[in-house]
């Protein structure tokens, strides 16, 4: 298996992009990734593409990447794996490059969640991915699906909504300086606690927005990497893990076992320990999910992470900075693009050019957890030179 590195990474600002369709967002993200390649790259050098998209809108999406991305001569494969779509699209591309089938591949993530009315047809958009016999009819909407985990976590640990709110405060603060973030404003602890309830224990400011957006990566094998950059970011490990699909069958709601499985694979492949990670982009679709994920990823012991939140252990100046981009919470969450955009942030961090730069970061980690909390993807990156 060959080593694989990211040589280009770019994205478009996330937000309610009513003025942009998939046909505009995808080519813009691809252009941003191409532009970021140090020594330049021609479209003709890209041999294959993977597109992460959760739900189609604007038509046949693999074809849109081929046609509107002006890449007519290469295979394009669409990947859908719920909220783990972005990191899983990368994993599939790495298989092809690492396996020696292609030298240079493109990974794009894109979604438009704001393509339908929030009052009515959003439910149609959402419902397509749900179990329609057992789960969705009783009202297991996405916030409730995660809230059942976090409510149990609070019950078992004694943590409170204030601990959740601290995550929102941190991630909003990080997003203020991020030009790609959907929510570029700070919030106070009190504002988070006072926001209207969505699904107990999540208030409105505990929830990520529904965003539109796209992001792209260009990856290359060690054999050709020198053509493109002298500072590649190596993909050292990845894992995709699952948990039971239905909430009644999940053994432990105070955790996300899918993440534990994905992380174990990724750490073993990279040959590092959780303590080696210098900076991470985690799946904070809801604030509490970030806290549980600290534990699932091994940053802190089970049922203790909430205490670390009290001392700011995951702030920019903390023991392990998490979501310097603002995370899903403030940067935004277009599901297919989310994981790819996390990778864009980590690539910038490991190249020393991020907006909220973590000095000397060598190891970076990205993480998604989703579906009915049943799938997780983890990717581990290493900087070439520190």
């Amino acid at each position: 298996m060959r080593e694989v590195a990211v040589v280009g990474a770019g994205m478009i600002p996330f937000g309610e992009l009513f003025h942009l369709g998939m046909k505009e967002m995808i080519p813009d993200a691809v252009a941003a990734a191409i532009k970021s390649v140090d020594k330049g790259i021609e479209r003709s050098e890209i041999e294959a593409a993977w597109l992460g998209q959760f739900q189609t809108s604007d038509g046949f999406s693999a074809g849109i990447l081929s046609d509107y991305g002006a890449l007519p001569n290469i295979p394009v494969t669409r990947i859908e794996n719920a909220c783990a779509t972005g990191n899983d699209a990368l994993r599939n591309a790495v298989h092809a490059v690492g396996g020696g089938y292609v030298d240079v591949a493109l990974v794009v993530g894109a979604d438009k969640t704001r393509e339908s009315s929030t009052t009515a047809t959003f439910w149609e958009w959402m419902g397509l991915g749900r179990d329609s016999a057992w789960d969705f009819p009783v009202g297991l909407v996405s916030p409730a699906s995660f809230a059942l985990h976090v409510a149990r976590y609070l019950h078992e640990t004694g943590a409170t909504r204030e601990h959740l709110a601290r995550v929102a405060v941190k991630n909003h603060a990080n997003a203020v300086s991020n030009p790609y973030a959907h929510f570029r404003f700070a919030v106070t602890l009190q504002q988070v606690l006072d926001a209207p309830m969505v699904a107990d224990p999540f208030g409105l400011l505990d929830c990520c927005p529904q965003s539109d957006g796209a992001a792209a990566l260009i990856i290359a094998s060690r054999d050709v990497v020198d053509r493109y950059t002298d500072r590649p970011v190596w993909i050292r490990g990845f894992g995709l893990g699952f948990d039971r699909v239905m909430h009644g069958t999940k053994a432990d709601l105070a955790a996300f076992p899918a993440t534990r499985r994905a992380a174990a694979k990724a750490y073993a492949m990279a040959g590092i320990e959780p303590a080696d990670v210098d900076v991470a982009e985690l799946h904070d679709c809801f604030t509490g999910v970030e806290i549980l994920s600290y534990e699932d990823l091994g940053f802190f012991e089970p049922l203790t992470a909430w205490k670390k939140v009290e001392i700011g252990a995951t702030q920019l100046d903390g023991q392990i900075p998490v979501n310097p981009s603002g995370g899903l919470k403030a940067k935004g969450h277009p599901p297919g693009a989310t994981g790819v955009a996390q990778c864009v942030e980590i690539v910038e961090q490991l190249r020393g050019e991020a907006v909220n730069q973590i000095d000397g970061a060598r190891w970076g980690l990205t993480h998604n957890v989703g579906g009915p909390t049943a799938v997780s993807a983890v990717t581990i990156f290493e900087a070439e030179h520190v």
Partner: protein, 385 residues
């Protein structure tokens, strides 16, 4: 007459003038199952026939029979009969009933109530039955389901109810079901089919013979009952009301549900049954292969315990199409079982239940797809005493 037991039930929700009304997830079917389940659990009878009486059939030509019989987990050779009508129809059903019959009468809506009677093994002996009919019914159901109402309650009272009661009542003390009557001591919560069984509950505890006069729409039937029925009467339902029915979200649309998917889930979802693997693991919802040992699972379902406690719970406050807001959703750990069940919380307002609360899983109308009901189980917390 050999009437072993009578269960009367009122729903949790409060209507005008201290009445109880059925919740959004209740209908004639779920109310009927509620009282029949109470009879079955308490008296464990051998049942040969279930007679379901209502004048407000939610699904007259649909699957009320399969839903009720699947939910009651009765053997497939038990007969099911549905009778359309109010108090007189329920009284006729009682008079017709043979040994091993459960009569269930349900009056959903506002007000709402339900009641059930269990006919014991001895032969029934009601031999004095009288009928009366004069006034054209002032409320009629035509081809469609919406009733046509002539709209003159005084005409009904003077020319219908009063004449019927006068003609039908004999020398014995009597109770009137199906109409308010100054002559009768019965105060039933509703005036439909269930009121006959509420009347029976009154008579069954008396030492002297009595007549039940059941009227509806100017028609009626009367039955004389002997003294000393000595049926056991069980009052079911919450002692305290949970307040008014929570309003439904104003949001448009409905959550999409596949009827085909509901059909596949039906035996397990309505019968609340799981598959037991040879390795001992119980699967719910059903699946083809055991998660623990990958063995092929049997099609046969074993009934799951209905009691349990909340392992986790959340309350959704944002508008969700067709859901009352706020609503609570929990994962229930069943007593004496490793099975946990995702269910909405019912019979109490959203947001009042906590992890660790105990309660019972009850059949409810979970959702509708294009107006077609989708039945499943909801968690009804124990009433705080």
């Amino acid at each position: 007459v050999n009437i072993d037991a009578i269960v009367t039930h009122i729903p949790a929700w409060e209507g005008p003038r201290s009445t109880r009304v059925s919740g959004r997830d209740e209908d004639a079917v779920t109310l009927g199952v509620e009282v029949a389940r109470a009879l079955l659990d308490r008296f464990k009878p051998t049942v040969q026939r279930v007679v379901f009486v209502t004048n407000r059939p939610d699904i007259a030509g649909g699957d009320s029979g399969p839903v009720i019989m699947t939910a009651l987990r009765l053997e497939s050779d038990v007969a099911f009969e549905q009778r359309l009508g109010g108090a007189p129809a329920a009284l006729e059903a009682l008079a017709d009933a043979g040994p091993g019959t459960i009569i269930v009468a349900a009056d959903p809506g506002a007000p709402a109530s339900a009641a059930g009677a269990l006919i014991g093994p001895a032969p029934t002996a009601i031999d004095l039955r009288r009928h009366y009919g004069s006034l054209p019914a002032i409320v009629q159901r035509m081809g469609d389901s919406s009733p046509r109402d002539f709209g003159d309650p005084r005409l009904l009272r003077e020319r219908g109810t009063a004449k019927a009661v006068g003609w039908l009542a004999g020398a014995l003390p009597f109770v009137v079901a199906g109409a308010r009557s100054a002559d009768s001591q019965l105060v039933a919560p509703t005036l439909g089919a269930a009121s006959t069984l509420f009347a029976l509950a009154t008579v069954a505890t008396q030492e002297s013979p009595a007549t039940i006069v059941a009227v509806e729409n100017g028609q009626g039937v009367a039955v004389d009952l002997p003294a000393g029925l000595s049926a056991e009467v069980v009052v079911h339902g919450r002692a305290k009301t949970s307040g008014p029915v929570p309003p439904v979200a104003a949001s448009a649309g409905e959550i999409p549900i596949s009827l085909a998917a509901y059909g596949r889930a039906f035996p397990s979802k309505v019968g609340f049954g799981g598959q037991r693997c040879t390795c001992g693991v119980v699967a719910y919802p059903p699946r083809s292969v055991c998660f623990a040992c990958a063995a092929r699972l049997p099609d046969a379902l074993e009934p799951l315990p209905l009691d349990g406690e909340l392992y986790s719970v959340t309350t959704v406050h944002v508008p969700v199409p067709s859901m009352p807001t706020p609503y609570s959703l929990g994962v229930v750990a069943l007593d004496g079982s490793d099975v946990r069940v995702l269910a909405h919380v019912t019979d109490v307002p959203g947001g009042v239940t906590r992890i660790g609360d105990r309660g019972r899983l009850v059949l409810r109308k979970v959702a509708e797809r294009a107006g077609i009901p989708d039945y499943g189980y909801a968690f009804a917390p124990e009433e705080m005493t």
